[in-house]
Symmetry: C2
Subunit: 216 residues, 2 copies
Amino acid sequence: MLAGVLRIRDQALQALLWQRARPPHTHRWSLPGGRLGPGETVERSIRRQLAEKVDVRELTHVEQLSVFSAPERVPGKRVVATAFLGLIPCDADPTLPEDTAWHPVETLPATAFDHEEILLTARERLRAKLSYTNIGFALAPPRFTVAELRDIYSAALGYRVSATNLQRVLSRRGALEATGETVSSGPAGGRPPALFRFTSRDLQITDAFAVLRPPT
Amino acid sequence: MLAGVLRIRDQALQALLWQRARPPHTHRWSLPGGRLGPGETVERSIRRQLAEKVDVRELTHVEQLSVFSAPERVPGKRVVATAFLGLIPCDADPTLPEDTAWHPVETLPATAFDHEEILLTARERLRAKLSYTNIGFALAPPRFTVAELRDIYSAALGYRVSATNLQRVLSRRGALEATGETVSSGPAGGRPPALFRFTSRDLQITDAFAVLRPPT
DNA sequence: CAGGGTTTTCGTCTTATAATCGAAAACGTG
DNA sequence: CACGTTTTCGATTATAAGACGAAAACCCTG
């Protein structure tokens, strides 16, 4: 079991990796993970691994990605990995162990085994779900301005999105709501932005993406 | 490893099940499956299991569904299952073993373990993908009329869809093309329908379902 | 404290795609 | 050959997203 844990920081999508101290693939960077224990589901187990091994407890979303089973993905012995996508909000800052660090997915260091492929799969899953779910709640802080949310979406998707459209699309879907609060404007002045929040912290799929609807 | 194999027949979505002869859950119906062999991926393995155990070789689509890992899903011992969605076209008619049969997903018999949950997950996956992919190719025969395709989609989705919209939506996406042939009209007369086919037999995702597009 | 620059916000317009409707085409049957 | 039937296709309507610009609300400078 492995987890591709992603977050947004410094306008970039980052992944959590630890550097291997022992063979095989010494010094290369690995995804955190571990073995399934008795009496737990794989979802509970991967959360436990992340809490115990890299002290990450802020996961706002965890979902299964895929089973990776290429025969020689780990040279020498047969290892089948159940991979997960994990997300933590950009305001969370877990204290990481020495050998662990965040790396931008755009500029990954040398990774062990097929962990780069797993991370790219995780990124694609995240990007797809940003389109048709409210999964942004898992990346954003509890409250945020539209400009901050635009930066989060832009970094995750890899291209600039329009703050206007983002606001309107998410509001229309009922995913976003205004808190009524505003924050003071920045050093350059400008109208003070309003604070928003996601209406739900559970994954919800937009029904508008279902085409071929039942007749009314 | 287990497979929820689905097809359309008699205007209904059917699942392939075999009746258990031995405990636990004797006489209840199970999904086909088996153990991963050395040197094969889980996808190759599940295709091999289906070919060897229930003689099904007509799979037009196979994809991972989910890992099912509830601790007591198999009473007594720990069994983690990687579940798959498999599809076969409605014109295929594999010869099944004695203890194996098709059952409408709407009226499932008593199933073993969590296999009903797995089948419902498979059905939801299929229904979702009918909306935003060309996955209909895996259920339909090589060539078909629009009315036949409407019946296939209606049975899979669980509600009547409009033949007009189905034709236009799939054509607009470039998923459907006319063969130029027509078939003679039925006993009640009527204009002889044209034959269509899917342009691709590989899964393709509609780009139109991606919202928050990059700026032009 | 007035004016200019800045950022946010919101309404309007345009575009894209799907749903609905109805007429015309093309066949069998009596 | 008129009639019912089914398919096909164009026209219209509905819905949602993208683009654009004006107005709002702030800061800073002179």
